[in-house]
C-alpha cells in the first residue's frame, strides 16, 4: 500500500519538488517552504524507538530558542535570539565554531529574537537584532562582511526572520511594524554585502498605491516583513508576506479612502522580481487592517489541481485566522477558508476573496475580537506533505479585548493606537489545535487538540510523521495520516522553534530546538496562571533510531 501511495505521488514530485533529503538547506526546508523531508528511515512503524543521541546547550536563554537550524553536508548551523551562531557536527554535536555577536547594551525593540540564519555561497548569513546583516565564513566562523541595514535606535525596528538566499543574493526582512516605521525588504549580494535592491512595502510619493495613505502617514505606516519568504525559480519570483499597518488599531490617521485597497501593501502578499525587487503582483488580504492582522507568515508554494486544471498555487495564512489560496503566477484569488473556530471580526469572505461584515474596534470601549492580535496562528510555520497532500497548521483559539487610543506617530516609537487584553473565547477556554487540511478546498481532515497554544513549527517527513513540540517541553510525533500521537520525549523546556530532519552517513536524525520564551509566551500567564512557572531554556536535542534497530 505504501509503495502504491509512493508511486501515485511520484507523478506530482516530478512536476514540483519542494522536498528536502539529506540536508535542510533553507529556513522552510526548500525555497517552496514545505517544511517536508522525504527521509523515511524514521517512520510510523519504528518512531516509538526514537531516542536522543546528543544535546547542545547554547547558553543564550533570552526570549527562548525560536530558530530553525540549517543543515548542509553534515554540519548544523544554529542561531539564538541574541544573534549568537554555532556550527556543529550534525552527527555528534561537536562544536566546530562559534560566532559571538556583541550582546545588546541598550533596549531592543520587542526584545531580541532570531528565527534563523541562511547558508549559501560559502557563508552563514546572520541578520542581527540590531539590524546588521553579516556574512560568516561557513568553514572558519570568521566574519567576512557586515552591513548596517538600519539603526534600531532610530527606526524602532529589528530583524527577527531568517534571511532567504535567492541565486546570488540574500533577501532579508525586518520587524518593527508596531513602531512608527516604514517597512521594507532588502536584497544584498552574497559575495560583497552590497545592497542590490530594496522594496519599500509602502509606496512613496509618485508610486502606485501611495494614494491609499492619508497625508504623511506612509512614512510611519508599518508593513514589516518579519518572517521569511519563498522563491519560485521557474517564475523568478520572490513571495513575501507583509505585516500590519500602523497604528495597529487606529486607521483614522492613515486611511485615505482613495485607490484600490487600503494602506497598500500592508497585510498583503507580494510577488517581486528576484533580480530587481520590482513588484509583479500583490494580494491584499486585509485592507485597512485595524486588528493587527499581519500577513507576514510563510508562503507555501504548491502545484495542485483546481477544478480539473493544474495550477501553480501559493497558500498563505493570515493572523486573522483565514488561509488564502492564490494563483502564484498572477496573484488571482482561488479560495479562502477559516482555520480557527473562533472568528467574529468578519462574517466571511466573498467569492472573490473580500472580507465582509467587518466589526472594527472603537475608541473608549473594549470590543471582543476573535482571533486576537496573537493571531489565529502565531508565526510558527506550517508543513505540507506531498505524500498525504495535506497542509498541517497550528492554530490559536484566543480572543482579545481591543480599544482604540488615538496617538500621533513619533519615528521609531511604539505606534499601536490601542490597548489589548487577551481573553478566553466566549464559549470556552483558550486552547489550540494542530490540523490537517486539504490546502485547496480547506476541508479539515483531522485535528489534534491541545490545552495551551502550540507555538512550534511543524515538520513533515516521508516516514508519514509530523514532529512538533509544546510549551510544556514535550517533543512529539503524530501520524501524518490520522493525527494519532505515536511518540514523545520531554526536553525540559517549552518549544517555540522549528524542528528539522537530515541524514549523515546513512543515519536519519531529527533535531529540535527547545527553550520557552517570545512575546506570545509572555501572554500565557494571564490566560493560564500556572504557566508563569514555565522555565526558559535554549537547547537543541537531536534524536535517531538506536544503532542496529532500523
Amino acid at each position: 500500500m505504501r509503495t502504491l501511495l509512493f508511486l501515485l505521488c511520484a507523478g506530482l514530485a516530478v512536476a514540483q519538488d519542494g522536498a528536502v533529503r539529506a540536508d535542510w538547506p533553507y529556513h522552510g526546508g526548500s525555497q517552496l517552504a514545505w517544511r517536508y523531508s522525504s527521509l523515511d528511515q524514521i517512520n510510523r512503524a519504528n518512531v516509538a524507538k526514537l531516542a536522543p543521541v546528543w544535546i547542545f546547550q547554547t547558553g543564550d536563554y533570552e526570549m527562548g530558542l525560536q530558530s530553525t537550524p540549517i543543515v548542509l553536508d553534515g554540519k548544523l548551523y544554529l542561531s539564538t535570539s541574541r544573534s549568537q551562531v554555532f556550527a556543529l557536527d550534525a552527527a555528534s554535536g561537536r562544536l566546530i565554531w562559534q560566532f559571538k555577536y556583541p550582546l545588546p547594551r541598550v533596549t531592543v525593540p520587542y526584545g531580541p529574537q532570531n528565527r534563523g540564519i541562511a547558508v549559501g555561497g560559502g557563508y552563514v548569513l546572520l541578520a542581527t537584532y540590531d539590524d546588521n546583516l553579516i556574512a560568516i565564513d561557513q568553514n572558519t566562523g570568521q566574519e567576512t562582511w557586515r552591513v548596517a541595514l538600519d539603526d534600531m535606535r532610530q527606526c524602532g525596528c529589528t530583524i527577527t526572520g531568517a534571511p532567504l538566499i535567492v541565486k546570488d543574493k540574500v533577501i532579508v526582512g525586518g520587524a518593527g511594524g508596531d513602531s512608527a516605521h516604514r517597512g521594507y525588504l532588502t536584497a544584498v549580494y552574497i559575495k560583497t554585502g552590497r545592497v542590490a535592491w530594496r522594496f519599500y512595502t509602502i509606496p512613496g510619493p509618485g508610486e502606485k498605491g501611495h494614494e491609499t495613505w492619508k497625508g504623511d502617514s506612509w512614512k510611519f505606516g508599518g508593513g514589516a516583513t518579519w518572517m521569511t519568504g519563498s522563491f519560485d525559480s521557474s517564475l523568478n519570483l520572490v513571495y513575501w508576506g507583509i505585516g500590519n499597518a500602523a497604528a495597529d488599531n487606529d486607521a483614522q490617521g492613515r486611511f485615505s479612502g482613495e485607490g484600490e485597497g487600503a494602506n497598500l501593501y500592508t497585510a498583503s502578499v507580494v510577488a517581486l522580481d528576484a533580480d530587481t525587487g520590482k513588484l509583479k503582483w500583490y494580494h491584499q488580504e486585509v485592507p485597512k487592517d485595524v486588528w493587527d492582522f499581519d500577513s507576514s507568515y510563510e508562503c507555501v508554494l504548491l502545484d495542485r489541481e483546481v477544478r480539473g486544471q493544474m495550477r501553480k498555487l501559493l497558500v498563505h495564512i493570515n493572523k486573522g485566522g483565514y488561509a488564502f489560496v492564490l494563483d502564484r503566477v498572477t496573484g488571482e484569488y482561488v479560495n479562502g477558508f477559516p482555520i480557527v473556530d473562533n472568528h467574529n471580526w468578519t462574517t466571511g469572505l466573498t467569492e472573490d476573496g473580500k472580507f465582509v461584515g467587518r466589526v472594527e474596534p472603537v475608541e473608549g470601549k473594549p470590543t471582543l475580537f476573535c482571533p486576537s492580535p496573537l493571531g489565529g496562528k502565531s508565526w510558527n510555520e506550517t508543513a505540507y506533505s506531498p505524500r498525504t497532500g495535506f497542509l498541517y497548521t497550528p492554530t490559536a483559539e484566543v480572543c482579545g479585548e481591543e480599544t482604540v487610543v488615538h496617538e500621533d506617530p513619533h519615528e521609531g516609537r511604539n505606534f499601536i493606537g490601542g490597548t489589548w487584553k487577551f481573553t478566553n473565547p466566549p464559549n470556552g477556554p483558550a486552547h489550540s489545535h494542530l490540523d490537517a487540511y486539504d490546502p485547496v478546498t480547506g476541508k479539515r481532515q483531522w485535528s489534534y487538540p491541545y490545552k495551551y497554544l502550540l507555538l512550534a513549527s511543524i515538520l513533515a517527513t516521508g516516514g508519514d510523521l509530523l514532529f512538533t513540540g509544546d510549551p510544556e517541553g514535550s517533543f512529539f510525533a503524530l501520524d501524518a495520516g490520522s493525527g494519532t500521537k505515536l511518540w514523545s520525549f520531554q526536553t525540559g523546556s517549552g518549544h517555540r522553534g522549528s524542528a528539522v530532519t537530515y541524514m549523515v552517513n546513512g543515519r536519519q536524525y531529527v533535531a529540535t530546538p527547545s527553550g520557552w520564551g517570545s512575546l506570545a509566551a509572555g501572554a500565557f500567564p494571564d490566560l493560564w496562571p500556572e504557566t508563569s512557572s514555565f522555565r526558559g531554556g535554549s537547547t537543541l536535542t537531536v534524536f535517531a533510531l538506536p544503532e542496529g534497530t532500523r
Partner: protein, 270 residues
Amino acid sequence: MTAVDATLSPNRQSGRRRRSVVRVMQTWISLLCLLPALACGQDVIARGAEAFGKSCATGYCHGPQGGSGSTAPRLAARGFTEEYISQTVRRGIPGTRMPAFEAVIPRAELIAVIAYVESLNGITPSMPPARDTEKKLPQEAADGRELFFDSVRGFNRCATCHEVDHRGTPVAAPILKIPADVAALRQIATPEIETASADGESFPALVISKGKNQMKLYDLTAPPPVLRTFPSGSVTLKQGGNWRHSGVIAAYSDQELGAILAYLRAVTGP
C-alpha cells in the same frame, strides 16, 4: 518569558547615594506641593495615568491601569520600590524590550509616569515636579536633525555613515570639526579614501584596520558602506579614489545643508 520575567524583578540593590537622592527629591516635591495645593501629587498622577495610557498600556506592552498587558507584566500592587520604578522607567532594562523612557518621552511625562506607577504600588509620589530640561533646538537646527536622519531618503542620508547624538552608523570617524558654511561642506576633502583592489575588482575604500592576518575596510561602492574583512596580502591599496563626499550629499539642497550644519553646531558645540 525570561525577558518578561526580567522586567518584573525589583532591583533590591539600593546604594546609600541613591537613597539620599530620593530623600532630596522627596523633600523637594513636598515643599513645592505645599504651595499650590495638596492636590499637586494627584495632578502628577493624573498626568502620569494619561501618559501611561499612551506610552505604556499599548498593544504588546502593559495593560491599562497597570494591569498585566497582552505580553508584558502587571505593574500595579507589585511591591516595587521607588528606586526600582525610577530606574526601570528611566533607563529601561538593557537587552530586553523595556525601553529607557528617559530617551524617548519628555521629562514632564517621564516624571508623571514614574509617579503614576509609584501610586499603583502604594507609594506617595516622590518625584520632582515637571521641569522640561530637554535640549530644545532652534528651528533651523531641529530641521537639520530631521534631514540628517531623514529615513525617507533611505541610505542616502547623513546617518548612513555618521553617528551623532547616539544615532546613526559610525562608518566615519566622529564629527569633530564642523565646516564653516555650506560651500565648505560641499568641498570637504577626504584624503583617507583609497582605491582597493581585491577579488578581481577595484572599489573606493575607507581602511579601518591593517592587521598581521587581516585587513578591515569599508567598501564605499554605493551606500550603505559594507565593512569587509580580507586576508592581509589579498588586497592592494592605491592612494585616492573616485569617491567624493560631495557626491553622496548632492541630493541635499544648500538650504538643507545649512540646516544640517546648524544642527551639528547645536549638538556638538559647548
